[in-house]
Structure formats: C-alpha cells, structure tokens
C-alpha cells in the first residue's frame, strides 16, 4: 500500500528528475524529487535501480551530494563500460522518473555535533560525499576546522571546483593532480602518499576524524598513511568504489 512503508525497511520509490548540472564532461549532478524522503545524514548514499524493457534490472549506489535540508541530489561519473552511469549522465532528462531507495549508511556519516577537526581525502568522484559533509558544515554553522585534499587526474576533472574555491572560514582545500597539470600549477602533483599526507593532514595530536573516499587503491594508500601518522584506525572512515560506480 502506498505510504505505509514499514519502519526500518527501505522502499523503492519513483523520484522525478528536477534538475541536471554538468560538472565536468563525464560528471553530472542530478537533482531529484522523491515523493517520500525523510531526510538524510551527511555522507549517506542511495540506491538507484534501472529496469530494462525485458525486465533486466541493474542497481547501483550513489553518494548523496546535497546537504540534509537541501533538494536531494546525486553526482554521477560516467563509466564508459558501465550499465547504469552512461544513462544517468548522458540520457536522463529533466522530468524523467528514476527509481531509488534511501537514505542508506550509518558508518560513513558525519554528525555536525562532532567537534573533531575534519580531514577529508577524495579520490576522483569520491569527493561527492565529502562535498555533502562540507555543505552540511556550512549549513549547520559548525566551526570545526576542515581540510580537504582532493586527488584528480587533471584540473578539468575536478568536480565542484568553483564551489570548493568559495569555502573560507576554517576550510582549506588543496589538490593533487596525478596525470597532467597546467603550466604554473603550484598545487601538489602525483598520487597521494605518506609524504604528502604528512605535509597536509592534521597532526594526530589534534584528534582529527578522517573521511576517505575514492577508488580502492586510493583509499587503501591514504588510510594506511593516516594510520602511519598516528590516526587511530577507528578514526579513519573509508568508502571504496570500484569500476562499477559509486558510492
């Protein structure tokens, strides 16, 4: 029966696509209007389900990009051999319907009441839940100091670049470009490693909490380096996505 979802159960629902924003040539933010959304916590994700005409279904998880209280949105990177993401980034139109369920996740979640300095490490589209955390920090008036280190292939691959450049008041954003960098680039270059984190991460003595999101190899390297710097493993929250898309 409509509207009688059992508490503690996730129900698939049909949301309307309310807006599309091209972030980079391969990345798109999709604003969604689900009929029933109880709100989410910063860092959570949702599941999207596509059903083909023959009944074949493909399901993927995508991190929520919007802060709680804002219009729900996800940011999706196209994977050229993907079953779901090319449709979402290239074919979806405003007004289309999309089947989803959520919010999901209780581990990779930031609560605004947490006073610990935030160390955010993003690999590629792993920046999406971290952007949500930074927006939630602003929205709730939190004054915890935050650092974001964002690893991208090239500068044009950086998602939310304009928005991230506007963060002030206790937020430091730095980039490392792994493949190519523009002439005169003064940021970091190369893949994330222990030396780079020793220079950029909060010292463990500041009792920071870290959120690391990206491809598996990025997360493994970054998380191990933070633990090597003295971060307790339980203070390093990780979320890995493979070649199948988010979260």
């Amino acid at each position: 029966m409509a509207g009688t979802a059992v508490r503690g159960r996730l129900t698939w629902q049909v949301a309307t696509v309310a807006g599309l924003t091209r972030e980079t040539p391969s990345v798109c933010t999709i604003e969604l209007e689900p009929p029933d959304w109880a709100g989410h916590r910063a860092g959570q994700h949702l599941d999207v389900r596509l059903t083909a005409e023959d009944g074949y279904r493909a399901e993927r998880s995508y991190s929520i990009a919007s802060a709680p209280g804002e219009r729900l949105s996800i940011t999706v990177e196209r994977l050229d051999d993907g079953e779901v993401s090319p449709y979402l980034t290239d074919e979806l139109q405003v007004g289309d319907e999309l089947e989803l369920r959520g919010p999901i996740g209780g581990y990779f979640v930031w609560e605004p009441g947490d006073g610990s300095p935030l160390m955010l490490l993003a690999g590629g589209s792993g920046v999406v839940p971290l952007r949500c955390i930074l927006r939630e920090r602003v929205r709730t008036g939190s004054d915890v100091p935050a650092r974001l280190l964002y690893s991208a292939r090239t500068l044009p691959d950086v998602i939310y670049r304009g928005e991230l450049g506007q963060h002030h008041d206790g937020v430091e954003v730095s980039y490392t470009l792994t493949r190519d960098h523009p002439p005169g680039w003064t940021g970091h270059t190369g893949r994330i490693n222990a030396d780079l984190l020793a220079d950029t991460a909060w010292p463990a003595a500041a009792n920071p909490v870290a959120y690391v999101c990206g491809p598996t190899s990025f997360v493994e390297t970054a998380a191990a380096a933070l633990v090597g710097l003295g971060y307790p493993p339980e203070r390093v929250k990780t979320e890995r996505f493979g070649a199948t898309g988010g979260p």
Binding site: G8, S61, G105, Y107, T238
Partner: protein, 86 residues
C-alpha cells in the same frame, strides 16, 4: 571487476536485517579480525553478493536472491554486533 566495500551493500543489509548494519562490528570466523561491516571487500556480480574479510580474504557473507527470497550465509562470521550499537 574491482570490488566495492561494505558501504555499498547498506541497502541489501537493511533488506535482510531490517536495520542499518554498515557501522556494526563483525568478527571474521577465519582470522579473528574485527571491524565494521563497511570495511568488508564486496563483490556484487550476479548471481549473488559475496563479502570477504579484508585481512585474510575468506568469505564471511553470501547473499543470493532466489525467486524473490534472499538466501543468507553468514557461516564465515564468528560474530556480528547488534544494529544500533555501533
């Protein structure tokens, strides 16, 4: 296909357990490693979902959906904490 981690099966785990489980701490029945479900190595290819211990690589959870019923094998888990206690 590169594996995901336990965060990616948060929705599936709510289907099975009726509660958010990614922050729940489990113990591997093979090597004794303990950690949140979110840290498991997860393969989601059909016909089922397999979660392996990140330390020893053994299979700790299997979920297979057969005609609308999800079959669950947790034989590789020595313990799994209470939802909400994480």
């Amino acid at each position: 296909m590169e594996p995901l981690d336990g965060n990616a099966i948060g929705g599936l785990l709510i289907d099975v357990f009726g509660a958010e489980m990614t922050g729940v701490v489990g113990t591997c029945g093979y090597c004794g490693d303990t950690g949140p479900v979110a840290g498991l190595v997860v393969y989601r290819q059909a016909p089922g979902t397999v979660a392996r211990c990140r330390v020893c690589g053994n299979i700790v959870m299997v979920f297979v959906k057969v005609r609308g019923t999800t079959c669950v094998d947790l034989m590789g888990m020595a313990s799994l904490g209470q939802p909400g206690a994480a």
